[in-house]
Amino acid sequence: MLKLAQEENPSLEGFQEIYNVRLEKFEGPLDLLLHLIRKNELDIYDIPISVITRQYLDYIKLMKDLNLEVAGDFLLMASTLLHIKSRMLLPKEEQEEEGEEEPDPRAELIRRLLEYQQYKEAGMVLESRALLGREVFTRGCQEPLPNAGQVDEGPLELGLFDLVDAFRALLARIPADSFHYVAAADTFNIADCINEILALLQEQDTLRFDEIVDEDSTRERVIVTFLAMLELCRLKLIRIFQNEPHGSIWFVPAVANDAAEAPHE
């Protein structure tokens, strides 16, 4: 959102006087609500919802009048406020029909506002600390050390984001069709299932089919697991056993873990 200095928009003066709203940079709808509450010296625990809703909507309208883009988050809050307002207007009897003691429709909003305020403030407290690179500095010169170049023992320091980011960068370089499919998390697929089986086989030498699927598993999951198993078998990554007809299906890794086999490519 934008902050507009009054002098830049003389035509707004009247509007601002009437509504006592000043355009500022707000971090979001909660920030704006807190501002309105503070400005009107309202009790946050007992927000006069119709007052605050009206002012909030006025603010949104002002933004629109100024052709400012109103973020969806602000509109969403507007509808939440209207919803709360309408619930407050419901006659008591009707509320009682729905169940026992209806909680205050404002309760959730109040809790969010209080919590938001707490974190907003915590952010400011953090920001006011003496920060490395701003108030404090570490040694600037490199310590001249012998053979500092060839070092690769010591603990690894890696982040997941770095890993995915590396992959992302790679994909950006590569024509999309070289990748048939890249992990999707939302549905259970064969690739996931293969990974899961491989991961399990890292921890144990044998695995039973019914360890992976149980009665609660969906039909889809059972089929996918079975297909994954076949695929692994085809890749000669696992071997499959069945001791008796209709008995448990057992998997064992086709290659012993970390076989002494060196890459001889």
Partner: protein, 183 residues
């Protein structure tokens, strides 16, 4: 050759904070207790000087004292660390609520946080901890060691305590906010 001088040289030469464990590993000929005493003595020795010994991000590091900022920055090219209010709000939520999902952060802030989160990930202040064990398995976020280093925190327990939820009129008024320039 005094143990304190050894600790001093070792901590000085490291390019990130050295934990007590690491120092002990590096100096197996000395007792952990003696190393601890040494660190304590060094902290006292440097107190009030231009360079101080501090415990940050679970380790020990020499840093300039904030008192001398105005002089130190004179020759450093302005690579000033700056955080927008939205970055700080998001960072505070991640710091205090970790492990936390994006949905939770967005609910708390009331706005979309994708862009901010990505910036925080890129700046290595926030990291992906893994996935939450709930349907949909959303990613969960937490703060990094760099976060502790930059904010000069010993560990997460060293985070300033959150103000108890109180009524608004008692809360401080953040007047500085009004000065925020147009982006």
């Amino acid at each position: 050759m005094s143990l304190n001088a050894i600790i001093e040289s070792v901590v000085f030469a490291a390019d990130s904070p050295l934990s007590l464990d690491r120092i002990c590993d590096m100096l197996p000929e000395y007792e952990r207790e003696d190393i601890k005493v040494g660190l304590k003595e060094l902290v006292d020795f440097y107190a009030g000087r231009g360079v101080v010994l501090e415990e940050v991000a679970g380790g020990w590091q020499f840093r300039t004292s904030p008192d001398y900022q105005q002089f130190v920055v004179r020759h450093l090219k302005a690579k000033t660390v700056k955080f927008s209010p939205s970055a700080m709000e998001t960072l505070a939520i991640v710091a205090y609520r970790q492990p936390v999902t994006r949905t939770e952060i967005e609910y708390l802030r009331g706005v979309d946080c994708g862009g901010v989160l990505k910036t925080l990930l890129e700046k290595k202040l926030v990291r992906i901890l893994g996935k939450k064990d709930i349907p949909g398995r959303p990613l969960i976020y937490g703060t990094t060691k760099e976060f502790l280093e930059i904010f000069g925190l010993k560990d997460l327990k060293g985070l300033p305590t959150l103000k108890e939820i109180q009524s608004l009129d008692e809360a401080p008024h953040f007047d500085q906010q009004e000065e925020l320039p147009l982006e």
